[in-house]
Symmetry: C2
Subunit: 399 residues, 2 copies
């Protein structure tokens, strides 16, 4: 049984994995590893290569969808255009459902298969919903997707094609996130949400791949779009562990980027606050990182401060310009949320002194998909309920 | 300088690479290799691993977008459901622009960079247009996309984001295809169309990957959606070359699949004709394989007959059912055109006797993409002209 740790209280716990939050401070718990020498198994492929760094006893290859092993593309044209150091894009859009979420789903589904649950779920309307539903199908598990009341039919298409059970819930989104865990415990549904500790472990693999793709070195800078916090936490942990094992000597400067229209973590960072304050309104084209109440915000803030990183924001205009530049200069198309990484880099040089030999990695997090004919005929069943009626609705669905 | 061969006249030629057609019979020419021992360089990555099998003197890694190295996923749930032999899906949707076309563009762009042309082009409205435009950007080459008159704005979005020069041409599509070559020669634009010999060489790499992913074996069956013919020709060549080098002993049975609503090659196969007859009307949801006048049709037909393969068709209804099954049973989402492979397999067992240890590979060719916000604001410039006015339009664009 895994131990989980609270990085605030510095305690380890063995809680119900379906409610991975600190009983004291309520922050998300992360996987705790006993101190021992770990190594990469380069002769193996996929998750097995990183099994020493992952909280999985066994890896069932049939649960995977070929996630990971994504390209690290040098962006020479942009580098020259702006006289920058070496820049690479880690292209997570080539994952099976076109976002980094597949990395997390791939590890969480392995855990789900050994937990003896027949169902999984997530609270999301975007990339995470599609990814979770795809891995649920692959594993033969029923998948529940909890949605905000105002989620449009169109936004759901890339999820609906995997035919999960869609439940639209009226009420506060943060409260729904918390409710999903208590319902999950009661109804034996493993909710692998954005800050699930196994999901976060999956994001570490991206860091190990970058290390190998740069000939076993860490870059000087890693730019990561920042939403719930889970992705950044996973990437930072990857390099902390590589350092702990003596595989690297320098720790990268992590730059977390939010969209100006929804930047609760960037605000807390700039204002020097210890806790992230929830934002009331969110308005940005970078929908995939528009989370006004990020559950991993406080952890991300603490880890960034402790490791000399920074968090910044970029405007929608800067995002669109960066998205266009990645496509037109480098042939790389991504979501607006992913373009924040380049937008941030291009804002920085005035303030930051790069060295000529510095290596910069931009994490290109995702892309949305849409089918050619066939998909528009999809009329997904959507169950509607209020937050207070959710348990009743779920019970009726479970019959 | 590469030699090209006509597999009908059995002659080799050294023609202008920008007009790769047989001077005698007008059929597309393919790359001809001098007889010599070739090998796979397993210690290398990407195209370099296969350089001995590719017509490239040097490989410039910076022109790539991380194409290839796609997953081979075992489809256990579908296998069990229908009591079939081992089935795998070769998931080409994880390529950078989400289709197998990137394999061909990746090799053709290498050639373009050494030919001293400043521009490339293609005649397409779908996946090939997006792929060619992306690789054109990556190489810093101007890209011209010739479109059918009735191409909708929406269909163009995934191409338009790479900002190529879009030229809508009134007139016959087959004639436009031929005209692109004569204009290309005149204006020094390398049109890397569907049956370009370098593009076809790129498709071979998929075959070599399958060989390695199956522990250096060939499968017994390979199902390939069939449109212009280029993809099937490339895959068949890959295994012919592996056999020639003594790396495999059995040659797979190739099954080419067309949609019933546009099946000129399947018709010729079933009717026992040597030449493919152009279809007048095409009507299928499998748009990506809807080519009523396939330029590589005769070659595909000849290669399939000589190597004991078969060509069949499937209905739109069968396609949609297969698309849904791939998503719901295996978590794999693809275009209708790609689902034809599974649709065909599920039609077969009555007629075909599989052995229990047979290995079947379905090629999942592609997926269409659409952005979240930002893309719908794209209002691409589209130049319009008639076939007879095309040269004048092109001259004005080249100034």
């Amino acid at each position: 049984m895994e131990k989980l740790e609270c990085i605030f209280c510095q305690e380890t716990y063995s809680p119900d994995l379906m409610f991975p939050f600190c009983p004291e401070c309520k922050e998300p718990l992360l996987i705790s590893y006993p101190s021992r020498k770990r190594e990469l198994f380069l002769e193996k492929d996929g998750l097995e290569r990183y099994s020493d760094f992952l909280p999985l006893k066994e890896i069932n290859k049939n649960l995977g969808l070929g996630e990971g092993n994504t390209p690290l593309l040098s962006l020479d044209r942009i580098q020259k255009k702006f006289t920058l150091p070496f820049i690479w894009a880690k292209d997570e859009t080539t994952n099976p459902t076109h976002s980094f979420k597949d990395r997390g789903s791939a590890v969480a589904i392995q855990k789900a298969a050994t937990m003896g649950v027949g169902s999984i779920g997530t609270v999301s309307t975007g990339n995470m919903a599609a990814s979770t539903a795809a891995y649920g199908d692959r594993a033969g598990l029923k998948t529940y997707i909890f949605l905000k009341e105002d989620t449009s039919q169109e936004k759901l298409l890339s999820t609906a094609l995997f035919n999960p059970i869609l439940v639209k819930v009226k009420g506060d989104y943060g409260a729904l996130f918390r409710k999903s865990y208590s319902l999950g415990q009661k109804l034996r549904i493993y909710f692998m949400n954005s800050v699930d500790p196994f999901r976060i472990e999956g994001y570490k693999v991206t860091g190990y791949e970058i290390f190998q793709q740069l000939n076993r070195q860490a870059p000087q800078y890693i730019f990561v779009p920042l939403s719930s916090g889970g992705h950044l936490i996973g990437l930072m942990r990857a390099f902390l562990e590589l350092k702990q094992e003596g595989l690297i000597h320098n720790y990268p400067t992590f730059v977390g980027i939010q969209a100006k229209g929804c930047s609760p973590i960037a605000r807390a960072f700039i204002q020097g606050n210890v806790k992230v304050e929830r934002m009331i309104k969110a308005r940005t084209i970078a929908q995939a990182i528009s989370n006004p109440d990020p559950p991993g915000g406080n952890i991300a803030l603490k880890m960034i401060r402790e490791n000399k990183g920074m968090i910044m924001d970029v405007s929608d205009k800067e995002i669109l310009a960066a998205q266009e530049m990645l496509a037109e200069e480098e042939g790389l198309f991504c979501q607006p949320a992913s373009a924040t990484a380049l937008a941030a880099l291009l804002k920085l040089p005035e303030k930051m002194q790069f060295e000529g030999h510095d290596k910069i990695v931009l994490i290109i997090t995702g892309k949305a998909i849409k089918s050619t004919p066939g998909l528009e005929s999809l009329k997904p069943d959507i169950h509607q309920t209020s937050l207070s009626g959710l348990e009743k609705t779920m019970n009726s669905l479970l019959i």
